[in-house]
Protein backbone atom coordinates (compact mmCIF):
# COMPACT_ATOMS: atom_id res chain seq x y z
CA UNK A 1 0.00 0.00 0.00
CA UNK A 2 2.72 2.41 1.06
CA UNK A 3 4.91 1.23 -1.78
CA UNK A 4 2.11 1.86 -4.23
CA UNK A 5 1.68 5.43 -3.06
CA UNK A 6 5.40 6.04 -3.57
CA UNK A 7 5.27 4.56 -7.06
CA UNK A 8 2.28 6.74 -7.91
CA UNK A 9 4.30 9.77 -6.77
CA UNK A 10 7.30 8.70 -8.81
CA UNK A 11 5.11 8.26 -11.87
CA UNK A 12 3.75 11.77 -11.24
CA UNK A 13 7.25 13.22 -11.53
CA UNK A 14 7.85 11.36 -14.78
CA UNK A 15 4.40 12.31 -16.08
CA UNK A 16 5.05 16.00 -15.50
CA UNK A 17 8.38 15.88 -17.33
CA UNK A 18 6.81 14.11 -20.28
CA UNK A 19 4.16 16.84 -20.50
CA UNK A 20 6.88 19.49 -20.43
CA UNK A 21 8.82 17.85 -23.24
CA UNK A 22 5.63 17.63 -25.29
CA UNK A 23 4.63 21.24 -24.69
CA UNK A 24 8.11 22.52 -25.42
CA UNK A 25 8.58 20.19 -28.40
CA UNK A 26 9.99 22.93 -30.62
CA UNK A 27 12.62 23.75 -28.06
CA UNK A 28 13.52 20.07 -27.98
CA UNK A 29 13.93 20.10 -31.73
CA UNK A 30 16.00 23.28 -31.59
CA UNK A 31 18.30 21.94 -28.87
CA UNK A 32 18.72 18.67 -30.68
CA UNK A 33 19.65 20.39 -33.93
CA UNK A 34 22.15 22.48 -31.97
CA UNK A 35 23.62 19.38 -30.34
CA UNK A 36 23.91 17.64 -33.71
CA UNK A 37 25.61 20.69 -35.24
CA UNK A 38 28.11 21.13 -32.43
CA UNK A 39 28.88 17.40 -32.29
CA UNK A 40 29.31 17.38 -36.06
CA UNK A 41 31.91 20.15 -35.96
CA UNK A 42 33.88 18.34 -33.29
CA UNK A 43 33.76 14.95 -34.94
CA UNK A 44 34.89 16.52 -38.22
CA UNK A 45 38.15 17.66 -36.61
CA UNK A 46 39.92 14.39 -37.42
CA UNK A 47 39.27 14.78 -41.16
CA UNK A 48 40.24 18.43 -40.92
CA UNK A 49 43.63 17.59 -39.51
CA UNK A 50 44.19 15.05 -42.26
CA UNK A 51 43.49 17.56 -45.04
CA UNK A 52 45.99 20.01 -43.56
CA UNK A 53 48.69 17.35 -43.79
CA UNK A 54 48.42 15.66 -40.40
CA UNK A 55 48.83 11.90 -40.35
CA UNK A 56 46.39 9.99 -38.23
CA UNK A 57 44.00 7.07 -38.30
CA UNK A 58 40.95 9.10 -39.29
CA UNK A 59 38.40 6.36 -38.62
CA UNK A 60 39.78 5.74 -35.15
CA UNK A 61 40.10 9.38 -34.09
CA UNK A 62 36.69 10.17 -35.52
CA UNK A 63 35.22 7.36 -33.43
CA UNK A 64 37.00 8.64 -30.33
CA UNK A 65 35.57 12.12 -30.90
CA UNK A 66 32.14 10.75 -31.70
CA UNK A 67 32.00 8.78 -28.47
CA UNK A 68 33.08 11.90 -26.58
CA UNK A 69 30.37 14.00 -28.19
CA UNK A 70 27.63 11.43 -27.59
CA UNK A 71 28.59 10.73 -23.97
CA UNK A 72 28.82 14.44 -23.29
CA UNK A 73 25.37 14.97 -24.83
CA UNK A 74 24.04 12.24 -22.54
CA UNK A 75 25.63 13.75 -19.46
CA UNK A 76 24.42 17.26 -20.25
CA UNK A 77 20.86 16.00 -20.76
CA UNK A 78 20.91 14.34 -17.35
CA UNK A 79 22.27 17.43 -15.62
CA UNK A 80 19.83 19.65 -17.45
CA UNK A 81 16.84 17.59 -16.31
CA UNK A 82 18.03 17.34 -12.71
CA UNK A 83 18.90 21.02 -12.48
CA UNK A 84 15.35 21.79 -13.52
CA UNK A 85 14.14 19.97 -10.40
CA UNK A 86 14.52 23.26 -8.60
CA UNK A 87 15.37 25.98 -11.10
CA UNK A 88 12.36 25.57 -13.37
CA UNK A 89 9.92 25.06 -10.53
CA UNK A 90 11.18 28.15 -8.78
CA UNK A 91 10.69 30.07 -11.98
CA UNK A 92 7.10 28.90 -12.38
CA UNK A 93 6.35 29.16 -8.67
CA UNK A 94 5.18 25.54 -8.46
CA UNK A 95 8.04 24.59 -6.16
CA UNK A 96 6.02 25.34 -3.03
CA UNK A 97 3.29 22.98 -4.15
CA UNK A 98 5.75 20.23 -4.97
CA UNK A 99 7.60 20.63 -1.69
CA UNK A 100 4.45 20.61 0.44
CA UNK A 101 3.14 17.41 -1.16
CA UNK A 102 3.55 14.21 0.88
CA UNK A 103 6.08 12.93 -1.64
CA UNK A 104 9.33 11.66 -0.13
CA UNK A 105 12.19 13.73 -1.48
CA UNK A 106 14.10 10.57 -2.36
CA UNK A 107 11.17 9.38 -4.47
CA UNK A 108 10.86 12.81 -6.06
CA UNK A 109 14.56 12.84 -7.00
CA UNK A 110 14.47 9.24 -8.10
CA UNK A 111 11.60 10.13 -10.42
CA UNK A 112 13.67 12.96 -11.88
CA UNK A 113 16.56 10.51 -12.27
CA UNK A 114 14.47 7.89 -14.04
CA UNK A 115 13.14 10.47 -16.45
CA UNK A 116 16.60 12.00 -16.95
CA UNK A 117 18.08 8.64 -17.94
CA UNK A 118 15.27 7.82 -20.35
CA UNK A 119 15.42 11.29 -21.89
CA UNK A 120 19.21 11.31 -22.04
CA UNK A 121 19.42 7.84 -23.58
CA UNK A 122 16.89 8.71 -26.24
CA UNK A 123 18.73 11.89 -27.21
CA UNK A 124 22.14 10.20 -27.14
CA UNK A 125 20.95 7.24 -29.20
CA UNK A 126 19.45 9.57 -31.80
CA UNK A 127 22.62 11.62 -31.90
CA UNK A 128 24.76 8.52 -32.25
CA UNK A 129 22.60 7.25 -35.10
CA UNK A 130 22.70 10.57 -36.95
CA UNK A 131 26.49 10.88 -36.51
CA UNK A 132 27.37 7.28 -37.30
CA UNK A 133 25.24 7.54 -40.42
CA UNK A 134 26.69 10.83 -41.65
CA UNK A 135 30.28 9.72 -41.10
CA UNK A 136 29.64 6.14 -42.24
CA UNK A 137 31.93 4.96 -39.51
CA UNK A 138 33.15 1.42 -39.45
CA UNK A 139 33.10 -0.12 -35.97
CA UNK A 140 34.00 -3.69 -36.77
CA UNK A 141 35.08 -4.66 -33.24
CA UNK A 142 32.40 -2.81 -31.31
CA UNK A 143 31.09 -4.62 -28.22
CA UNK A 144 27.83 -2.77 -27.60
CA UNK A 145 26.94 -4.87 -24.59
CA UNK A 146 30.10 -3.73 -22.82
CA UNK A 147 29.37 -0.09 -23.71
CA UNK A 148 25.83 -0.47 -22.44
CA UNK A 149 27.01 -1.91 -19.13
CA UNK A 150 29.31 1.08 -18.65
CA UNK A 151 26.52 3.56 -19.40
CA UNK A 152 24.09 1.77 -17.09
CA UNK A 153 26.43 1.80 -14.11
CA UNK A 154 27.73 5.30 -14.82
CA UNK A 155 24.21 6.71 -14.93
CA UNK A 156 23.85 6.10 -11.20
CA UNK A 157 26.81 8.39 -10.44
CA UNK A 158 25.59 11.02 -12.87
CA UNK A 159 22.23 11.13 -11.09
CA UNK A 160 23.95 11.50 -7.71
CA UNK A 161 26.10 14.38 -8.94
CA UNK A 162 23.08 15.90 -10.66
CA UNK A 163 21.21 15.95 -7.33
CA UNK A 164 24.03 17.94 -5.77
CA UNK A 165 24.03 20.56 -8.50
CA UNK A 166 20.21 20.60 -8.55
CA UNK A 167 20.08 21.90 -5.01
CA UNK A 168 22.35 24.88 -5.68
CA UNK A 169 19.51 27.20 -6.74
CA UNK A 170 17.83 26.46 -3.40
CA UNK A 171 20.85 27.69 -1.48
CA UNK A 172 21.49 30.69 -3.65
CA UNK A 173 18.64 31.49 -5.99
CA UNK A 174 20.79 34.08 -7.74
CA UNK A 175 24.06 32.22 -8.11
CA UNK A 176 23.07 28.57 -7.87
CA UNK A 177 22.40 27.87 -11.52
CA UNK A 178 25.63 29.63 -12.52
CA UNK A 179 27.60 27.46 -10.10
CA UNK A 180 26.00 24.40 -11.63
CA UNK A 181 27.19 25.48 -15.08
CA UNK A 182 30.71 25.95 -13.79
CA UNK A 183 30.73 22.49 -12.22
CA UNK A 184 29.55 21.07 -15.53
CA UNK A 185 32.32 22.93 -17.35
CA UNK A 186 34.93 21.52 -15.01
CA UNK A 187 33.63 18.03 -15.62
CA UNK A 188 33.89 18.62 -19.37
CA UNK A 189 37.48 19.80 -19.05
CA UNK A 190 38.83 17.07 -16.78
CA UNK A 191 37.03 13.94 -17.96
CA UNK A 192 38.83 13.43 -21.26
CA UNK A 193 35.76 13.95 -23.40
CA UNK A 194 37.78 14.66 -26.56
CA UNK A 195 41.30 13.61 -25.56
CA UNK A 196 43.11 11.23 -23.27
CA UNK A 197 43.24 12.47 -19.67
CA UNK A 198 47.00 11.76 -19.79
CA UNK A 199 47.48 15.07 -21.66
CA UNK A 200 46.04 17.07 -18.75
CA UNK A 201 48.31 18.98 -16.34
CA UNK A 202 48.83 17.08 -13.08
CA UNK A 203 46.30 18.97 -10.88
CA UNK A 204 43.52 18.46 -13.41
CA UNK A 205 44.51 14.83 -13.82
CA UNK A 206 44.01 14.41 -10.09
CA UNK A 207 40.49 15.84 -10.35
CA UNK A 208 39.80 13.54 -13.32
CA UNK A 209 40.19 10.52 -11.06
CA UNK A 210 37.05 11.51 -9.17
CA UNK A 211 34.94 12.17 -12.22
CA UNK A 212 32.73 9.25 -13.22
CA UNK A 213 32.80 10.57 -16.79
CA UNK A 214 36.52 9.69 -17.02
CA UNK A 215 35.83 5.98 -16.48
CA UNK A 216 32.69 6.09 -18.59
CA UNK A 217 34.52 7.43 -21.62
CA UNK A 218 37.45 5.10 -21.16
CA UNK A 219 35.17 2.10 -20.80
CA UNK A 220 33.00 2.96 -23.78
CA UNK A 221 36.02 3.58 -25.98
CA UNK A 222 37.55 0.24 -25.01
CA UNK A 223 34.36 -1.59 -25.84
CA UNK A 224 33.46 0.24 -29.07
CA UNK A 225 36.96 0.55 -30.53
CA UNK A 226 38.82 -2.28 -28.84
CA UNK A 227 35.88 -4.66 -28.58
CA UNK A 228 36.40 -5.23 -24.85
CA UNK A 229 33.56 -7.16 -23.21
CA UNK A 230 32.05 -6.61 -19.77
CA UNK A 231 34.64 -8.90 -18.17
CA UNK A 232 37.55 -6.86 -19.47
CA UNK A 233 36.08 -3.54 -18.36
CA UNK A 234 36.42 -4.16 -14.65
CA UNK A 235 39.08 -1.49 -14.10
CA UNK A 236 36.57 1.09 -15.36
CA UNK A 237 33.49 -0.47 -13.79
CA UNK A 238 34.64 -0.72 -10.20
CA UNK A 239 35.40 3.00 -9.80
CA UNK A 240 31.97 3.71 -11.30
CA UNK A 241 30.33 1.35 -8.82
CA UNK A 242 32.15 3.04 -5.92
CA UNK A 243 31.40 6.58 -7.10
CA UNK A 244 27.78 5.58 -7.69
CA UNK A 245 27.41 4.01 -4.26
CA UNK A 246 28.76 7.17 -2.64
CA UNK A 247 27.15 9.80 -4.82
CA UNK A 248 23.51 8.78 -4.43
CA UNK A 249 23.38 8.95 -0.61
CA UNK A 250 25.64 12.01 -0.72
CA UNK A 251 23.39 13.63 -3.32
CA UNK A 252 20.28 12.98 -1.20
CA UNK A 253 22.01 14.33 1.88
CA UNK A 254 23.24 17.47 0.13
CA UNK A 255 19.78 18.06 -1.33
CA UNK A 256 18.21 17.67 2.10
CA UNK A 257 20.62 20.21 3.58
CA UNK A 258 19.77 22.63 0.80
CA UNK A 259 16.06 22.13 1.37
CA UNK A 260 16.41 22.77 5.10
CA UNK A 261 18.45 25.88 4.41
CA UNK A 262 15.83 27.16 1.96
CA UNK A 263 12.98 26.53 4.39
CA UNK A 264 14.83 28.22 7.21
CA UNK A 265 15.58 31.36 5.23
CA UNK A 266 12.46 31.58 3.08
CA UNK A 267 14.17 30.90 -0.22
CA UNK A 268 11.63 28.59 -1.82
CA UNK A 269 9.90 31.57 -3.21
CA UNK A 270 11.18 34.91 -4.33
CA UNK A 271 8.24 37.08 -3.32
CA UNK A 272 7.30 37.33 0.36
Amino acid sequence: MMMRTELTGLAGVVERNVYLVKRYAWWEVAFFVYTVASSYTIVLIAKGIQTTGGRLDVNRVTTILLIGAVVWAYLSSIFEVLTDTVAWERWEGTIEYTFMAPLARSVHLLGMGVFAIAYGLLRAALLFAVMAFSFRLAMPNANFLGAFAVVAIASVSFIGIGMMTAVLPLISPEKGTQLGFMAQGLLLAVSGVYYDVAVLPAPLRAVARFSPATYTLDGIRSSIIGGTGVGGLWHDLWPLVVIGAVSIPLGLWVFHQGEVHAKRHGKLKRSG
Binding site: R4, T8, R16, G93, R264, G266
Partner: protein
Protein backbone atom coordinates in the same frame (compact mmCIF):
# COMPACT_ATOMS: atom_id res chain seq x y z
CA UNK B 1 -26.15 22.71 -4.32
CA UNK B 2 -24.85 19.28 -5.11
CA UNK B 3 -22.46 17.75 -2.65
CA UNK B 4 -18.82 18.32 -3.35
CA UNK B 5 -17.44 15.58 -5.56
CA UNK B 6 -14.23 15.13 -3.67
CA UNK B 7 -13.13 11.75 -2.48
CA UNK B 8 -13.56 10.71 1.10
CA UNK B 9 -11.15 13.04 2.86
CA UNK B 10 -7.87 11.66 4.07
CA UNK B 11 -8.97 10.00 7.24
CA UNK B 12 -7.76 11.40 10.50
CA UNK B 13 -6.54 8.50 12.62
CA UNK B 14 -9.02 7.71 15.40
CA UNK B 15 -6.68 8.68 18.21
CA UNK B 16 -6.26 12.12 16.62
CA UNK B 17 -9.95 12.99 16.45
CA UNK B 18 -10.15 14.69 19.80
CA UNK B 19 -7.08 16.78 19.08
CA UNK B 20 -7.20 20.37 17.92
CA UNK B 21 -6.76 20.63 14.16
CA UNK B 22 -4.06 23.24 14.59
CA UNK B 23 -2.22 24.05 17.74
CA UNK B 24 0.57 26.62 17.75
CA UNK B 25 2.62 27.44 20.81
CA UNK B 26 4.97 30.41 20.70
CA UNK B 27 5.41 29.82 16.98
CA UNK B 28 7.97 32.30 15.70
CA UNK B 29 9.64 33.21 12.41
CA UNK B 30 12.30 35.72 11.51
CA UNK B 31 13.97 36.49 8.21
CA UNK B 32 17.54 37.56 7.65
CA UNK B 33 18.23 40.38 5.33
CA UNK B 34 21.69 41.14 4.03
CA UNK B 35 22.23 44.75 3.27
CA UNK B 36 25.16 46.69 2.00
CA UNK B 37 26.31 49.20 4.54
CA UNK B 38 29.14 51.14 2.98
CA UNK B 39 31.59 48.48 1.90
CA UNK B 40 30.42 45.72 4.21
CA UNK B 41 27.39 43.52 4.23
CA UNK B 42 25.34 43.55 7.39
CA UNK B 43 22.77 40.99 8.36
CA UNK B 44 19.63 42.33 9.93
CA UNK B 45 16.79 40.22 11.27
CA UNK B 46 13.17 41.13 10.86
CA UNK B 47 10.37 39.48 12.74
CA UNK B 48 7.71 38.11 10.42
CA UNK B 49 5.81 36.24 13.13
CA UNK B 50 6.26 37.07 16.81
CA UNK B 51 5.74 34.16 19.26
CA UNK B 52 2.18 33.18 18.51
CA UNK B 53 -0.07 30.83 20.43
CA UNK B 54 -3.52 29.74 19.28
CA UNK B 55 -5.57 26.70 18.47
CA UNK B 56 -8.13 25.90 15.84
CA UNK B 57 -10.65 23.17 16.55
CA UNK B 58 -11.51 20.45 14.15
CA UNK B 59 -14.12 21.55 11.62
CA UNK B 60 -13.76 25.19 12.56
CA UNK B 61 -13.16 28.07 10.14
CA UNK B 62 -10.87 30.79 11.44
CA UNK B 63 -10.18 33.93 9.44
CA UNK B 64 -6.98 35.90 9.84
CA UNK B 65 -6.98 39.57 8.97
CA UNK B 66 -3.95 41.78 8.77
CA UNK B 67 -2.31 44.51 6.79
CA UNK B 68 0.18 43.79 4.05
CA UNK B 69 3.31 42.34 5.55
CA UNK B 70 1.68 41.47 8.86
CA UNK B 71 2.73 37.82 8.65
CA UNK B 72 -0.35 36.02 7.35
CA UNK B 73 1.40 34.20 4.52
CA UNK B 74 4.31 33.42 6.79
CA UNK B 75 1.93 31.71 9.22
CA UNK B 76 0.36 29.72 6.38
CA UNK B 77 3.77 28.69 5.03
CA UNK B 78 4.89 27.54 8.46
CA UNK B 79 1.81 25.37 8.82
CA UNK B 80 2.28 23.91 5.35
CA UNK B 81 5.91 22.99 6.16
CA UNK B 82 7.33 25.39 3.57
CA UNK B 83 9.15 27.36 6.25
CA UNK B 84 10.92 26.08 9.33
CA UNK B 85 10.06 27.97 12.51
CA UNK B 86 12.77 29.76 14.48
CA UNK B 87 11.06 28.94 17.73
CA UNK B 88 7.99 27.40 19.28
CA UNK B 89 5.99 24.54 17.87
CA UNK B 90 2.91 23.90 15.83
CA UNK B 91 0.98 20.69 15.47
CA UNK B 92 -1.59 19.62 12.93
CA UNK B 93 -3.77 16.92 14.46
CA UNK B 94 -0.93 16.23 16.82
CA UNK B 95 1.76 16.00 14.16
CA UNK B 96 4.64 18.37 14.67
CA UNK B 97 5.27 20.52 11.58
CA UNK B 98 9.00 20.17 12.08
CA UNK B 99 9.58 16.58 13.12
CA UNK B 100 6.59 14.93 11.47
CA UNK B 101 6.32 17.04 8.35
CA UNK B 102 5.26 14.22 6.08
CA UNK B 103 2.22 13.37 8.17
CA UNK B 104 1.30 17.05 8.19
CA UNK B 105 1.64 17.25 4.40
CA UNK B 106 -0.84 14.42 3.97
CA UNK B 107 -3.47 16.33 5.92
CA UNK B 108 -2.91 19.87 4.68
CA UNK B 109 -3.31 21.71 1.43
CA UNK B 110 -3.00 25.35 0.59
CA UNK B 111 -4.33 27.85 -1.90
CA UNK B 112 -2.46 31.11 -2.23
CA UNK B 113 -2.92 34.41 -4.03
CA UNK B 114 -0.69 33.53 -6.95
CA UNK B 115 -1.98 30.48 -8.75
CA UNK B 116 1.52 29.06 -9.58
CA UNK B 117 1.36 26.51 -12.36
CA UNK B 118 3.48 25.35 -15.25
CA UNK B 119 2.11 27.95 -17.64
CA UNK B 120 2.53 25.97 -20.85
CA UNK B 121 0.90 22.84 -19.45
CA UNK B 122 -2.86 22.56 -19.50
CA UNK B 123 -4.97 22.78 -16.37
CA UNK B 124 -5.64 19.07 -16.64
CA UNK B 125 -1.96 18.23 -16.92
CA UNK B 126 -1.10 20.44 -13.96
CA UNK B 127 -3.80 18.84 -11.83
CA UNK B 128 -3.10 15.30 -12.95
CA UNK B 129 0.57 15.16 -11.99
CA UNK B 130 -0.03 17.07 -8.75
CA UNK B 131 -2.69 14.56 -7.72
CA UNK B 132 -0.20 11.74 -8.12
CA UNK B 133 2.09 13.41 -5.61
CA UNK B 134 -0.72 12.74 -3.12
CA UNK B 135 -1.00 9.11 -4.16
CA UNK B 136 -4.10 9.64 -6.32
CA UNK B 137 -3.95 7.40 -9.35
CA UNK B 138 -4.80 8.66 -12.87
CA UNK B 139 -7.87 6.43 -13.10
CA UNK B 140 -9.32 8.41 -10.16
CA UNK B 141 -8.12 11.85 -11.12
CA UNK B 142 -9.45 11.51 -14.67
CA UNK B 143 -12.93 11.23 -13.18
CA UNK B 144 -12.56 13.68 -10.34
CA UNK B 145 -10.86 16.59 -12.11
CA UNK B 146 -13.81 17.38 -14.44
CA UNK B 147 -16.26 16.98 -11.55
CA UNK B 148 -14.43 19.38 -9.29
CA UNK B 149 -13.84 22.07 -11.90
CA UNK B 150 -17.47 21.88 -12.93
CA UNK B 151 -18.48 22.51 -9.35
CA UNK B 152 -16.27 25.61 -9.50
CA UNK B 153 -18.08 26.70 -12.71
CA UNK B 154 -14.90 26.27 -14.66
CA UNK B 155 -15.76 25.31 -18.25
CA UNK B 156 -14.62 21.70 -18.59
CA UNK B 157 -13.83 22.15 -22.29
CA UNK B 158 -11.01 24.53 -21.36
CA UNK B 159 -9.22 21.99 -19.20
CA UNK B 160 -6.94 21.05 -22.10
CA UNK B 161 -5.82 24.61 -22.85
CA UNK B 162 -2.46 25.84 -21.62
CA UNK B 163 -2.73 27.65 -18.28
CA UNK B 164 -1.36 30.85 -19.79
CA UNK B 165 -4.50 31.18 -21.92
CA UNK B 166 -6.74 31.30 -18.86
CA UNK B 167 -7.74 34.47 -17.04
CA UNK B 168 -6.44 35.08 -13.55
CA UNK B 169 -9.72 34.15 -11.92
CA UNK B 170 -9.89 30.93 -13.89
CA UNK B 171 -6.36 30.06 -12.86
CA UNK B 172 -7.36 30.74 -9.28
CA UNK B 173 -10.19 28.22 -9.65
CA UNK B 174 -7.73 25.63 -10.88
CA UNK B 175 -5.59 26.40 -7.84
CA UNK B 176 -8.60 25.68 -5.66
CA UNK B 177 -9.30 22.51 -7.59
CA UNK B 178 -5.70 21.40 -6.99
CA UNK B 179 -6.24 21.69 -3.25
CA UNK B 180 -9.70 20.12 -3.19
CA UNK B 181 -8.57 17.21 -5.34
CA UNK B 182 -6.40 15.94 -2.50
CA UNK B 183 -9.31 16.10 -0.03
CA UNK B 184 -7.37 17.97 2.65
CA UNK B 185 -8.44 17.75 6.27
CA UNK B 186 -6.97 21.18 6.90
CA UNK B 187 -7.36 23.80 4.21
CA UNK B 188 -5.04 26.80 4.37
CA UNK B 189 -6.43 29.57 2.25
CA UNK B 190 -4.24 32.61 1.64
CA UNK B 191 -6.44 35.22 -0.04
CA UNK B 192 -8.23 32.63 -2.18
CA UNK B 193 -10.82 35.02 -3.60
CA UNK B 194 -8.57 37.97 -4.43
CA UNK B 195 -9.12 38.80 -8.09
CA UNK B 196 -12.29 36.79 -8.54
CA UNK B 197 -15.48 38.31 -9.95
CA UNK B 198 -18.38 38.66 -7.49
CA UNK B 199 -20.13 35.50 -8.62
CA UNK B 200 -16.98 33.39 -8.56
CA UNK B 201 -16.22 34.77 -5.15
CA UNK B 202 -19.58 33.58 -3.86
CA UNK B 203 -19.05 30.18 -5.45
CA UNK B 204 -15.69 29.79 -3.78
CA UNK B 205 -17.12 30.88 -0.47
CA UNK B 206 -19.97 28.37 -0.78
CA UNK B 207 -17.40 25.73 -1.53
CA UNK B 208 -15.40 26.53 1.56
CA UNK B 209 -18.55 26.18 3.65
CA UNK B 210 -19.28 22.86 1.95
CA UNK B 211 -15.82 21.55 2.66
CA UNK B 212 -16.39 22.31 6.28
CA UNK B 213 -19.92 21.07 6.63
CA UNK B 214 -19.80 17.99 4.45
CA UNK B 215 -16.22 16.94 4.79
CA UNK B 216 -15.46 18.13 8.25
CA UNK B 217 -12.52 20.15 6.94
CA UNK B 218 -10.82 22.74 9.10
CA UNK B 219 -10.18 26.05 7.39
CA UNK B 220 -7.67 28.79 8.10
CA UNK B 221 -8.57 31.70 5.87
CA UNK B 222 -6.28 34.71 5.41
CA UNK B 223 -8.16 37.49 3.75
CA UNK B 224 -8.43 41.23 3.16
CA UNK B 225 -12.17 40.86 2.59
CA UNK B 226 -13.81 41.64 5.91
CA UNK B 227 -17.29 40.61 4.78
CA UNK B 228 -15.89 37.26 3.71
CA UNK B 229 -14.23 36.79 7.07
CA UNK B 230 -17.41 37.62 8.94
CA UNK B 231 -19.52 35.42 6.71
CA UNK B 232 -17.37 32.30 6.76
CA UNK B 233 -15.46 32.25 9.99
CA UNK B 234 -16.53 31.36 13.47
CA UNK B 235 -13.60 33.30 14.88
CA UNK B 236 -11.59 36.13 13.42
CA UNK B 237 -7.98 36.81 14.26
CA UNK B 238 -6.00 39.98 13.64
CA UNK B 239 -2.31 39.82 12.90
CA UNK B 240 -0.55 43.10 13.37
CA UNK B 241 3.17 43.37 12.64
CA UNK B 242 3.61 39.68 13.26
CA UNK B 243 1.59 39.61 16.46
CA UNK B 244 -1.76 37.95 16.83
CA UNK B 245 -3.47 40.73 18.75
CA UNK B 246 -6.95 39.22 18.80
CA UNK B 247 -8.73 35.98 18.02
CA UNK B 248 -12.41 35.72 18.78
CA UNK B 249 -15.87 35.81 17.23
CA UNK B 250 -16.53 38.82 15.04
CA UNK B 251 -19.17 40.03 17.47
CA UNK B 252 -16.64 39.88 20.28
CA UNK B 253 -14.12 41.88 18.27
CA UNK B 254 -16.62 44.61 17.60
CA UNK B 255 -17.49 44.74 21.26
CA UNK B 256 -13.89 44.88 22.33
CA UNK B 257 -13.03 47.80 20.05
CA UNK B 258 -16.39 49.49 20.54
CA UNK B 259 -17.01 49.27 16.81
CA UNK B 260 -20.21 48.94 14.84
CA UNK B 261 -18.66 46.97 12.00
CA UNK B 262 -15.78 44.53 11.65
CA UNK B 263 -14.07 47.09 9.43
CA UNK B 264 -14.15 49.67 12.20
CA UNK B 265 -12.83 47.11 14.65
CA UNK B 266 -10.02 46.22 12.26
CA UNK B 267 -9.03 49.86 11.83
CA UNK B 268 -9.20 50.43 15.55
CA UNK B 269 -6.95 47.44 16.13
CA UNK B 270 -4.42 48.13 13.43
CA UNK B 271 -4.70 51.48 11.76
CA UNK B 272 -5.27 53.92 14.57
CA UNK B 273 -1.72 54.63 15.53
CA UNK B 274 -0.02 55.92 12.45
CA UNK B 275 2.77 57.57 14.41
CA UNK B 276 3.84 54.15 15.78
CA UNK B 277 4.37 53.00 12.26
CA UNK B 278 6.87 55.77 11.61
CA UNK B 279 8.70 54.81 14.84
CA UNK B 280 8.94 51.23 13.73
CA UNK B 281 10.33 52.11 10.32
CA UNK B 282 13.06 54.06 12.08
CA UNK B 283 13.76 51.12 14.44
CA UNK B 284 14.02 48.50 11.77
CA UNK B 285 17.23 49.78 10.23
CA UNK B 286 19.01 49.61 13.57
CA UNK B 287 18.21 46.01 14.44
CA UNK B 288 21.12 43.62 14.21
CA UNK B 289 21.58 39.99 15.29
Amino acid sequence: MSPLPVAAPMTVPVQDRAMPAIQAIDLRKEFRRRERVGRRFETTRSVALAPTTFRVERGECVAILGQNGSGKSTLVRLLSTLLLPDGGTARVFGHDIRTDARAVRRLVNRVSVEASFFKKLSAFENLSYAARFYGIRPADSRVRIPEIVERLSFPADRLREPMEHLSRGMQQKIALARALLTAPVVLLLDEPTTGLDPRSKLEVQALVTDMQEQHDATVLLCTHDLAEAEELARRVGILHRGELIALEAAAGLKLRYGAATLEEAFFAATGGRLEDEADREADEGGESP
